[in-house]
Subunit: 219 residues, 2 copies
DNA sequence: CACGCCCGTTTTTGATCATATTGTGGGCGC
DNA sequence: GCGCCCACAATATGATCAAAAACGGGCGTG
């Protein structure tokens, strides 16, 4: 069995814990991250923490600020534009490749995830929205069997996470992108192009909102 | 001044050393990498080595083989296809963005790098070709100021490195892609689209060769 | 006389190492 | 051929050393 947190090495669990903190917005951009702080917060030794931080920084989820200080990077409009370019390329492709490999069970699972997304929106649960929306995409893409693209998705999601969080903190969970229903319908029809299109639409809406939020913040 | 290897922290130097080993083919795919082996080979403590390995694995340059063994991943044809997709998207874009920012000095520097590439081809110097070809691209893209895209290039280059090396080992340095001259001419004309096109052509040639090599190996 | 700035001290934090601990793989005996 | 035991390599901890940032006192100035 794959009991999470049971037999994984400590540095792996530390990595995942820290990763979720970044991904789901428990750390805000600009906030400094100290090794010793994490050692105390997570109750683990410093070696695992160090390794987790290295992994995250090499994925761009954390930034080495000046001389040996670490923080969550603040996203500029330019950087977000680059991120958007990649997402538009990678995610529809992942969706396209995943579609023919989906089983009925997979689709049911994704539908369940989408229901959780809707519930989170309803309740205004920001963290829940981030988590389940991410899982909806991640679980779908995981079926593609495309390792390299998948690893890029991980990186991009990691970098986009904090900005999304900031955006949500400012505007709440209203008017959130949700073309998941269209995507699910296309999956059931096993129409790869339609799935890719729906995912692209979903992404595009998110990008528009974050871009607007960033633009407004700049002025 | 930035004297390399002088004032950088040990883990950073270790990371770069290991990175170059992968990038320029000093480690072959499938070859196991042990922590203690590197400790002795590089003459550093084990903490820096551990961190370097973590960073490389999280970038896909190294792979955790089953239970706590590390090796350079072997590239499959499918994976290379994914890599190619990314390169076609990212690299021309980086070239396009870099072009208007190039100074005459930059172009001269790139021309010098290209001369070294040619010299390496002439001499059949595989390692030299890999190094200077990579530097030609990396230095050009670095001018783009696009951090996110640049970090993706780093990752993709890291994953493609070993395969390139294998291909060269099999076929030698003859018939190597070199559309650098066209690229340089376009740079001097400050024609961003032409630079992007030349770079795309350069990449395309390389992809074709590696793909052919991988296909042949498979059968 | 009050405010602000600069410099030295203190404290926090990061880097590295030596070492104990644990888990895995291979060899040996049954 | 199967299972147990041993040795080795990787993981994780805590200590130690070095550096940087924060703090505070003293000085100069408005």
């Amino acid at each position: 069995m794959n009991a999470p947190g049971a037999k994984l090495p400590e540095h792996e669990r530390t990595y995942r814990a820290l990763r979720e903190m970044v991904l789901y917005g428990e750390l805000s951009p600009g906030q400094p991250v100290t090794i010793q702080g994490l050692v105390e917060a997570l109750g683990v030794g410093m070696t695992p923490v160090r390794e987790a931080i290295r992994r995250l920084t090499s994925q761009g989820a954390l930034m080495l600020k000046g001389n040996r200080r670490v923080q969550v990077p603040e996203m500029t409009l330019e950087q977000y534009g680059e991120l958007a370019l990649i997402r538009r390329t990678v995610e529809p492709e992942l969706a396209r490749r995943a579609t023919p490999r989906l089983t009925d069970d997979d689709i049911a699972d994704l539908a369940a995830e989408d229901a959780l997304v809707d519930a989170a929106i309803e309740k205004g649960d920001v963290r829940g929205y981030l988590a389940h929306n991410h899982l909806f995409h991640a679980k779908l893409y995981a079926r593609s069997g495309a390792e390299v693209l998948m690893s890029l998705f991980d990186i991009v999601a990691l970098r986009a996470g904090p900005s999304l969080r900031v955006m949500l903190g400012r505007h709440g969970t209203a008017n959130l992108p949700d073309m998941h229903r269209e995507a699910l319908a296309a999956m059931r029809a096993r129409d790869a192009e339609a799935v890719a299109a729906a995912i692209l639409g979903d992404i595009e809406q998110g990008i528009t909102q974050v871009t607007r939020s960033l633009t407004r913040a700049k002025s």
